[in-house]
């Protein structure tokens, strides 16, 4: 058996549509038998947030960030035509009509397919996000871990 190919995606964006693209590619790559890693940094971390409020100890700025950022993938806005939250409602309706899987389910499917979801710990500190607030069964790492995966990678994307 030859060594598995790898797909490495950096999800920097906190936009619903961009995160969807990242997770669709990731799930497709897993179906291609690649070892897949999605490295979440900056606003992309919000895709990993649990949708309920988790009581953790935070400073003032961290609390503010926590309130201003979307709590979980389903609450993320669109990169274009967001219209103060009306855009996502519209697109979710159209997605349902066309049987397109919504982002939270794409993330679930990614976990079922053993896609490695990684949270960047440096940006978690910046945005005041703590492990308890993020999904279970994810990994925590920094730039070196990403590079170790990516340097021999076959597909490398920054979204």
């Amino acid at each position: 058996m030859t060594e598995k190919k790898t797909t490495n995606i950096i999800l920097f964006s906190g936009d619903y549509d961009k995160a969807m693209a990242a997770y669709i590619i990731a799930n497709g790559a897993a179906a291609y038998d690649h070892e897949v890693t999605i490295f979440h940094t900056f606003w992309g971390l919000n895709a990993l947030r649990k949708d309920e409020h988790i009581p953790v100890k935070k400073g003032f700025m961290e609390k503010m960030f926590g309130k201003m950022m979307p709590r979980g993938s389903d609450k993320m806005g669109l990169s274009s035509m967001n219209f103060a939250g009306f855009g996502p409602k519209m697109i979710k309706g159209v997605m349902k009509k066309h049987n397109v899987m919504p982002l939270p389910q794409l993330i679930e499917m990614a976990q079922e397919q053993d896609i490695k979801l990684v949270a960047c710990t440096m940006t978690m500190d910046l945005l005041g996000l703590q492990k308890e607030e993020l999904l279970d069964n994810i990994e925590y790492a920094g730039v070196a871990a990403y590079l170790a995966d990516a340097e021999d990678g076959n597909v490398n994307l920054f979204i």
Partner: protein, 75 residues
């Protein structure tokens, strides 16, 4: 054409058909044939590329009333 397993992916959008095809294929032995029905217009190129990359053989594909049918032999 005879198939060992049948996958109904009609009405499903990208990337579900390919993910389901992979799962169904994992359950087959080498040489067995999987039949797939899909309605996603991209499925034709997607499944052909997927089969080639995975070392499988796309035996036949046809279109019938907007349903795309594929037979893939596991490599």
């Amino acid at each position: 054409m005879n198939a060992d397993k049948m996958l109904d992916a009609k009405g499903l959008a990208c990337p579900i058909p390919i993910v389901k095809t992979k799962k169904a294929m994992d359950g087959l032995e080498s040489g067995q044939v999987l039949e797939i029905h899909a309605t996603d217009k991209g499925a034709k190129n997607d499944l052909a590329a997927w089969a080639k990359s995975g070392g499988h053989e796309l035996l036949k594909s046809e279109e019938e009333n907007d349903v795309l049918k594929f037979w893939i032999k596991k490599g």
